[in-house]
């Protein structure tokens, strides 16, 4: 059981407000990418966020573009777990492939406010928030293994190279 501070957002948050498109080809370092996380949704997020915090959102979090920086900006800002009523399909895959845990769990974003805390029990797939217990569906062991490896590319590098060489491909969907 771990305790986390939450940042709460609503439905249909798109990738443009999570990480503006105008930065996608210019910003390269983790620090620079993290500095613009949620810039057009919540300008105070970056100054508030602390390592270990989680995001709690409504439905369809991350709709729109396939840009992987919409995940990595949060990862570099210290977020390792995202909870949403639902995720856009591509965003969900990007989370896993980037080594971030996405938890599908409706009902939390209307119950909590930014600054509240919740407890996550990843062993028993439970979240305890505002005195209530929520169960969520665990990832399959093979998908969890991708997260544990730090993402798809490091996992495959371990398998094929025997070490992680730090290469981060641009990715992206046609």
């Amino acid at each position: 059981m771990t305790t986390h501070r939450v940042h709460v957002y609503g439905d249909h948050v798109n990738t443009d407000v999570i990480f503006p498109g105008k930065y996608t080809y210019t910003l390269k370092t983790p620090e620079d990418i993290a500095a613009h996380a949620l810039e057009d949704l919540d300008p105070t997020f970056v100054s508030r966020v602390q390592p270990g915090d989680v995001i709690v959102a409504g439905s369809n979090w991350g709709m729109g573009s396939s840009r992987e920086q919409a995940v990595t900006c949060l990862k570099y800002a210290g977020i390792n777990i995202l909870i949403a009523a639902s995720f856009s399909g591509l965003y969900f895959r990007n989370c896993i492939n980037q080594g971030i845990l996405p938890i599908v769990c409706p009902g939390l974003n209307t119950l909590l406010q930014t600054g509240d805390t919740l407890e996550i029990d990843v062993t028993n797939n439970r979240i305890i928030a505002a005195g209530q217990t929520f169960n969520f569906t665990p990832l399959s062991p093979s998908v969890q293994a991708i997260i544990d490896a730090g993402g798809l590319v490091p996992m495959l590098q371990m398998r094929f190279l025997g070490y992680v060489d730090g290469y981060v491909p641009a990715g992206g969907k046609e």
Partner: protein
């Protein structure tokens, strides 16, 4: 909770080798076919970076050259050369050269994917293969590299949306108009991460060429995949070429759908998507008279024989008043349309015919509009800049409407030419 299963629940359980699965489950899938196109060289670089050397199942890999063919620049030619080298190195038999056609059309014609099977492509229109009852999904380049290396990829089984179509389309109204209507009504996010499962008595009345339009355009609906129940017409189409057996999959009658949409197509009018989004859809009558400088018939959405014959039907004995570019979706389509006389009719009407492939669909070449020139297109996307020029409006409609508009140089109802 002993309800039935949707198509996607059954198809993904099969591909993962498990007995059953419900929406929300995460499975490791071994697809029956994976494919890429002109982006193959970029995927190769990721594949090499992860330390892989040999593809795990090269016999289940297909590669087409289609997005910029024949090569318009030295860089494109270099890209194609790298891909040919890769095909040789990996021993890929299902390789389709410049001019064979668009990936989705060619793989369908070659019967490389069959009803009930699963296919992943590094192309967002991979839901296309739902026309023959397969599960098709687009993936990113990193994931395609992983698929080459391991032959497997994880998938979260999506919730499903049922779209029921009933009634007979009126003459001159097509599956394209149905697709535009759905997207217009429910927006580009209406099918987000859903398996779109079509049903209803309209489907068997649609030709095979038309059926492919529906799942193809569900990419613009946000869908993960789309599905039409395959019938004897589909089985017959595949029979001559297929190299393995298959078992079609149908959803159970009591399957659970997260959403439903119903349309009586009998009263549907021709539709048109206005610039710059595929859900800016209105009845064609509301856009009639808008001037266009270019008309384009082709793409994986509407570049098949029936589309070209529809255009020929409208253009017989007419002359175009604006540029008309016609690009058959494959060499087989080009050959059939030549033999049927449709190509001759189009050339006599003033059309320009080009090498089978994507053509100007995504703005690589062969019909990029000048700034402020409007194009009416039979394609699937009209985002700003899609055809290579930002300030060039794109309208999306059926081949009938595109052909009629070419005659007048303005958006036109095809009824007066039919």
């Amino acid at each position: 909770m002993n309800t039935g299963y949707t198509f996607v629940e059954k198809a993904l359980a099969r591909a993962a080798g498990v007995e059953s699965a419900r929406a929300g489950a995460i499975l490791d899938m071994r697809p029956d076919l994976i494919f890429s196109h002109d982006n193959t060289a970029a995927i190769r670089r990721i594949f090499e970076a992860i330390g892989a050397t040999r593809m795990s199942r090269p016999e289940r890999v297909a590669i087409t050259l289609d997005h910029a063919v024949p090569a318009p620049t030295t860089q494109h030619a270099q890209n194609h050369a790298e891909i040919r080298e890769w095909v040789r190195l990996q021993g890929i038999a299902h390789f389709f050269e410049v001019g064979r056609g668009i990936c989705h059309q060619v793989i369908s014609e070659e019967a490389l994917i069959l009803p009930g099977e699963t296919i992943f492509g590094s192309d967002s229109h991979t839901p296309h293969f739902g026309w023959l009852g397969a599960f098709g999904m687009g993936v990113g380049r990193t994931e395609m590299a992983a698929l080459w290396a391991t032959g497997a990829l994880w998938i979260r089984v999506p919730e499903s949306m049922q779209i029921e179509l009933n009634g007979h389309l009126r003459p001159g109204v097509t599956a394209k108009d149905i697709a535009l209507k759905i997207i217009g009504d429910r927006t580009v996010g209406g099918g987000q991460y859903r398996s779109i499962e079509f049903s209803g008595n309209t489907l068997p009345t649609l030709s095979l060429d038309e059926r492919a339009v529906l799942p193809n355009m569900m990419a613009e609906f946000g869908a993960m995949n789309a599905y039409l129940p395959p019938d004897q017409a589909v089985f017959d189409y595949l029979e001559a070429k297929r190299t393995r057996d298959y078992t079609p999959i149908y959803p159970d009658a009591d399957a659970v759908y997260a959403d439903r949409y119903e349309l009586d197509v009998a009263s549907l009018e021709a539709q048109i998507a206005l610039p710059h989004q595929p859900d800016h859809v209105v009845n064609l009558s509301e856009a009639v008279g808008q001037p266009v400088q270019q008309a384009f018939i082709g793409t994986c959405t509407n570049g098949r024989l029936e589309d070209i014959e529809a255009a020929a039907q409208v253009l017989r004995g007419q002359r175009v008043r604006c540029r008309l570019i016609v690009i058959p979706a494959s060499s087989q389509v080009l050959l059939a349309a030549t033999q049927s006389g449709a190509i001759a009719t189009l050339i006599e009407a003033g059309a320009s015919i080009s090498t089978p492939g994507c053509g100007p669909c995504m703005g690589n070449h062969m019909g990029i509009p000048a700034p402020n020139e409007a194009t009416i297109s039979s394609a699937n996307r009209n985002f700003k800049g899609r055809m290579g020029t930002a300030d060039a409006p794109i309208y999306l409609a059926s081949p009938y409407v595109v052909a009629a508009s070419a005659i007048k140089g303005a958006i036109t109802d095809p009824a007066e030419f039919l």
